[in-house]
Subunit: 406 residues, 2 copies
């Protein structure tokens, strides 16, 4: 299992493009990921009652289509809260790709991200699809252009890829994602596309993805706002030449491990690049009574505005961490909790049995000043643990979101 | 039923004081509320698993003491996460008041607010109690000094009082509260003290208070962080001379109405004065299927960071409101929702049946620029409604909380 360069075009038979179509003012705003052969498709989607048109479409494609071959994505407009007209525009976007690539409309996944409540400029989108077809290429570079085209307030493109061996065949798994704001995925992520040349049954592909998100994208939060557009899509085209995986054997486990490497990397990048973030904030809860409790506690800490502002201010205000654990709904004894902080500058025990140690504030501030800061809460009661990823809450988060539409 | 001047000293037989004892650097930091005769006491408290020492003490007093006569409060140090030493210090604080006023220790409520994890400077507290005794007075002015002394990052003191008639006797109900940050009360509020000269049984006093907070303090949120110290206390000393209320009759209803006027006023002031807030943001959900759903939807909107930053930016980004409703957990049809905004500058329908009306952005911005902004979501399915109060999320919230301890 090794990390390799690239993203959605790292696996055999995948092409991509990213172009400026004219939805946004200046930056690239449309992307296409295409498999040269039909691929198995699977997806996980937002649990928000308000679902964007592309989400409703993709849920149908995932359920009903035997195979998929393309994913078309746009940034700038979310196509959410757009009624019947929004559904029609989404279908027209899928049809434009189907016509251009000569594949069935039901083999096209769609994804949109941007402002809620605005209609897609469908003429611009249809022109954009032609531009995408003209630019469609294999190779790492084209995948990066696609990753760039789905950015909104992201400050850098998010890609990751790994490779491993099955049956003496090299298998590649690569992906891209965008995040930044309205990030609190619930059974999905903002927008993510993963491709692989693995041969695997559609059922196991879906199961691997659904299990995977619980510990990766669903464990990150930027602002506790679960989006209307969260979608994580995966395409597996089988070009690696391995025997198709149809049961949960050792090969399946290898694939799950590879998938986890890719999605954890993308999820952490999404958290670190949260709107206005100055650092990645990782929270690990260990020795909890149950897995569920470890997850709930770590997410409660990672989403607390008061904890996040303290992290921004490099202030070891650990009382806020205990406070956030206390209102999480988990039943525990506060007088039994130990708390540590950690970064490249060292590790420090702040709390022992619910009370402050005689730690040095100066050392604590130094540790918290790192670009990647970790807090660990030791519950000292069980064997379960969980890790969540988030970021600090800065002036820039407020600035970005006070005038996002202008 | 009429509003009158004053707060905790508006009712007959209540005295108060607020002094600088030396816990904080400069500002007043200790308060005392005292009834000249024994009073019935009731309280509601934080549901946070991590409970401050005074909260644990007050729960015991509420349960076991036949009467109470004093409330001593300090700001600057929360006495939370302070272990056995914290419990001892809290007891010493209550004893200091008991000794000074010559009343039983079990008749003294305590309340602390400030930094979590630091021990109370008990010598300073004990000296402070003597200063408080020396300053203890009747009259509106002394109540205001007490309200000032419990402030932390609050920018103004919060008081309210009303009077009404029972049996030809004038009944007064007055209160004070402090809020600002770590405000997301759950079965209680940050710190609030209400006094009344009504004669009422202890059981009904508690029931009136518990029912009251559900629709007042529990409906506000500044930052979705439920504090370790939330306490709302009420003292009823019976000096108004009415026949003691022992059943839920018309007089009981009158008292509930008066209590609601006082606590709603204090709750709204707390929301409007949230840390860094530039405006009060009120959210009403109407025609919901159930009371519970109306409450959940309104609180989901009021606590969304993305909605709050949009309100700060005077940006009618209504998609974020529908998004926050969508992830609240309530099952509803987004295509059936209407949305309005309102302030002194007028009312505007932004959304009809889940989609944008052709409203003017300019008018929307003007309305959102008010000091008190209201959003109304009409679910158009039932008869239930709920109102929640919050505030916008500004640069100053981040500033205040990034260096709260320094």
């Amino acid at each position: 299992m090794k990390k390799i360069d690239g993203g959605v075009t790292a696996a055999k038979g995948f092409m991509a493009a990213g172009v400026y179509a004219g939805i946004k003012k200046k930056r690239k705003d449309m992307a296409l990921v295409y498999s040269t052969v039909p691929a198995k498709g699977a997806g996980t989607f937002t649990t928000n009652m308000v679902k964007a048109a592309p989400v409703k479409w993709d849920i149908k494609v995932t359920k009903e289509s035997e195979y998929v071959q393309a994913v078309v994505l746009n940034s700038g407009v979310a196509n959410a809260c757009t009624g019947q007209e929004g559904d029609t525009n989404n279908l027209l976007m899928a049809q434009a790709v189907a016509n251009a690539m000569e594949i069935p409309t039901e083999a096209v996944y769609t994804a949109s991200t941007g402002v809620i409540g605005k209609q897609l400029p469908i003429g611009v989108i249809q022109e954009g699809v032609l531009l995408l077809k003209a630019e469609l290429k294999e190779g790492i570079w084209s995948g990066s252009l696609a990753a760039e085209a789905i950015m909104t307030t992201d400050t850098y493109a998010k890609e990751c890829a790994v490779s491993f061996m099955i049956d003496g065949q090299e298998i590649n798994v690569g992906g891209m994602a965008k995040g930044s704001g309205m990030i609190h995925p619930n059974m999905a992520t903002m927008l993510g596309v993963v491709t692989t040349d693995l041969a695997i049954s559609k059922e196991l592909l879906q199961e691997a993805l659904s299990e995977n998100v619980k510990h990766t994208f669903n464990m990150i939060s930027v602002d506790r706002d679960t989006s209307t557009n969260d979608s994580l899509l995966i395409l597996a085209n089988g070009l690696a030449g391995n025997t198709e995986i149809t049961e949960k054997n050792a090969d399946y486990e290898k694939f799950c491990e590879a998938l986890s490497l890719v999605t954890t990397d993308l999820a952490k990048k999404m958290a670190a690049d949260g709107e206005g973030a100055t650092k990645l904030f990782e929270v690990q809860v260990i020795h909890a009574n149950t897995q569920e409790e470890a997850i709930t506690l770590s997410k409660s800490i990672i989403t607390s505005n008061l904890v996040k502002t303290a992290v921004f201010g490099n202030d070891a205000n650990w009382g806020r961490i205990l406070c956030a654990m206390g209102y999480s709904g988990v039943n525990f004894d506060p007088d039994n909790v130990d708390l540590y902080i950690e970064s490249v500058d060292g590790t420090l025990k702040l709390v022992e049995n619910g009370m402050a140690t005689d730690y040095s504030e100066e050392t604590a501030t130094k540790i918290l000043s790192g670009k990647e800061v970790k807090a660990t809460a030791d519950m000292k009661v069980g064997i379960y643990e969980a890790t969540a990823w988030g970021c600090d809450l800065s002036y820039d988060y407020v600035k970005i979101n006070a005038d996002y539409r202008s």
